[in-house]
């Protein structure tokens, strides 16, 4: 596809500007960078209390949007970014893991038992991880488009199974899911009540979880694991021949992504208190994927930014009423035309995408069935 020259010029200008900022940022002393990050995080905690002048949501509560939408999307995008961005596996059924997490919490805390939310959380994470392994074991032998189609099917299977299962409440779903436990510190007389009216505690809880998840993901990224994922993404055959157990690391990526998705689902269930299959449509998989791609595949900060835009954007323009999704869609298209690599791409991933298709793949020296071998099973 060719674009008019001005598109390319704008792309270049935006890119140069961002690069310049990135270089400036990296050149700052470590102390300054840490300080800025601490201040930023501190401000994020204050966001519902002291919002920025233009950052608001007409007609709906701002902290509600943060807690119901933004936090959940950011978590899901972080998880999906491991699968799509870091390991390079296209997953179109990510909502399935989100649903597994939500339903696990719902079943254990309300549907068929009375566990407190906190006790269901690790089970929800473990259950979605198991779902990731169960789905990944047979399907990760596939590549690219084939994998995308199988995962798409998985997402639908989960939703339709929930719809037809009496155990999971069928179309009516499960209600009365308990909220997280309220916290009260008597010494300073400080309350954090997870109720129906005030969404702020959920936001703070979600933000804390997000920070922990990012912390852990960065550890993975800067280790042998992250290196193996990058190698798999760039040349899977070569990686395997250099001693990378590719299947094992792809499965790990799937499991970690699933676990974070399940975590997001569990959090969501405990916030809204009732879930049914309609909460987990295919569209949600696409929106999570859009968040990752829009933000910049492979970059943690990009996934966060993309998720914020995807979740907050439609709420910000609520005054367009029915046309807001149209407007939002147009905005997304424009962004992707001018910035195909995403808003905050990982430098490496952007280069890979730019060079995609410019060289032969799958051939180890001579025309051979190497590439199709894995696709066949």
């Amino acid at each position: 596809m060719t674009f008019p020259p001005f598109v390319l010029r704008v792309r270049q200008a935006v890119n140069d500007r961002r690069r310049a900022w990135a270089v400036k940022w990296r050149l700052l002393p470590r102390r300054v960078r840490v300080g800025v990050m601490v201040l930023l995080v501190a401000y994020l905690y204050l966001l519902p209390v002291a919002p920025l002048p233009f950052v608001r949501t007409p007609e709906v509560g701002f902290s509600g949007v943060l807690a119901d939408q933004v936090v959940i999307y950011v978590l899901a995008a972080l998880g999906l970014n491991v699968v799509v961005g870091m390991a390079g596996l296209l997953d179109l059924g990510y909502v399935g893991f989100y649903a597994v997490g939500a339903y696990t919490t719902a079943v254990l805390s309300s549907g068929h038992a009375n566990w407190p939310w906190l006790a269901t959380l690790p089970v929800a994470i473990a259950a979605s991880m198991v779902a990731g392994v169960v789905l990944g074991t047979p399907t990760l032998r596939l590549r690219g488009d084939y994998l995308a189609i199988v995962t798409l099917g998985f997402g639908e299977i989960i939703r339709i199974s929930a719809n037809n299962s009496n155990y999971l409440g069928g179309p009516r779903g499960i209600t009365s899911i308990p909220h997280p436990p309220s916290i009260h510190i008597p010494v300073v007389d400080w309350h954090l009540d997870f109720g129906v009216l005030d969404a702020k505690p959920y936001y703070w809880l979600g933000l804390t979880i997000i920070i922990i998840v990012i912390f852990l993901l960065r550890r993975l990224e800067h280790s042998r694991v992250g290196r193996a994922w990058t190698a798999i993404r760039e040349d899977e055959d070569a990686a395997e021949l250099m001693g990378v157990p590719t299947f094992k690391f792809k499965l790990w990526a799937f499991a970690i992504g699933a676990a974070i998705g399940g975590l997001a689902g569990s959090l969501y269930a405990s916030k809204i208190g009732f879930i049914n299959p309609d909460n987990f449509p295919f569209l949600l998989s696409i929106l999570f994927l859009s968040a990752v791609v829009l933000g910049g595949s492979g970059n943690i900060a990009g996934a966060v930014l993309g998720a914020v835009v995807i979740s907050y954007g439609p709420e910000r323009i609520r005054n367009f009423s029915d046309r807001r999704y149209f407007v939002f869609g147009v905005v997304l298209v424009i962004v992707m035309v001018f910035r195909p690599q995403g808003l905050l791409p990982s430098r490496r991933r952007a280069a890979e995408l730019a060079h995609a298709g410019s060289e032969g793949t799958g051939l180890l020296g001579e025309p051979s069935p190497v590439a199709s071998e894995s696709a066949d099973g």
Partner: protein
């Protein structure tokens, strides 16, 4: 005498109706530099692909260190001590030179997801050791100055060297080099020849595919020749040079010679 390091025994490799390797038997002794030559399409790279587990032979056996590796998983074969380079360079293009080599060093790493998440002391020391040995390898190959450049941006010759470094990083007993001198000028070829000798002197066994006869003849201790998937000769460079079958394979066969097809 102990069994050779690498043995192919009656290996046949068929793709549909095409026989790429036809009952090939050959061996590589520990510590030697063995050349594998033959006209285009003779099956040299197929031998590499069978040895490294890319293909599973239709029949026959591949033994390494006395142990059958035919049908073994590719990364396991690498861990057992067989590493290779590729005819068309297959680096990880957007990873830095150092990271490329670190992936190779990682072949024997024990860190996995739990260790990386917890960032155990062992994980950290392993990461340091990985970085150190990767750096040393880049220095050995003379491309340390490129350590932090993306592999894609390296000059062609350095990419070839980087591929060799990455393969050596997996601590192989035998190193399979697939046309390492392709695209080199005569001076670079001589340099590469010396490098291969240095690599051997460090204790690696080398199996080399190369088209350039000057390189093959000067570098190799022994040469095996393939032609149309068949093994036709095995001997010292001087013997190979004068072998009528080899000359025939390279210069073409007389029209009346039956090859069976």
């Amino acid at each position: 005498m102990a069994e050779p390091l690498l043995v192919l025994e009656g290996v046949t490799m068929q793709f549909g109706g095409i026989t790429a390797l036809d009952d090939v038997s050959l061996h590589v002794d520990a510590g030697e530099i063995m050349g594998l030559i033959g006209p285009n399409g003779a099956g040299k790279t197929t031998v590499f692909n069978v040895v490294t587990g890319v293909y599973h032979p239709t029949s026959g056996d591949v033994r390494f260190n006395g142990e059958s590796i035919a049908g073994e998983k590719r990364y396991r074969i690498t861990r057992k001590g067989i590493a290779r380079t590729f005819q068309n360079i297959r680096l990880f293009p957007e990873m830095t030179a150092l990271e490329n080599v670190m992936v190779g060093v990682d072949a024997h790493a024990r860190t996995s997801v739990p260790g990386a998440l917890a960032r155990l002391p062992r994980t950290r020391s392993e990461e340091h050791a990985t970085r150190d040995s990767a750096t040393q390898l880049l220095e050995f190959m003379g491309i340390a100055s490129q350590a932090h450049n993306a592999a894609r941006n390296l000059p062609y010759g350095d990419q070839r060297r980087l591929e060799i470094s990455r393969a050596m990083a997996t601590q192989p007993k035998i190193l399979l080099l697939d046309e390492p001198a392709a695209g080199f000028n005569p001076a670079e070829k001589r340099e590469l020849g010396q490098l291969i000798h240095t690599i051997r002197d460090r204790g690696f066994t080398v199996l080399l595919i190369e088209h350039d006869m000057s390189v093959v003849m000067s570098v190799c201790d022994r040469i095996n020749v393939l032609d149309f998937g068949k093994h036709i000769a095995d001997g010292k460079p001087a013997e190979i040079r004068n072998d009528p079958k080899v000359i025939q394979a390279y210069l073409g066969v007389p029209a009346n010679a039956a090859r069976g097809s």
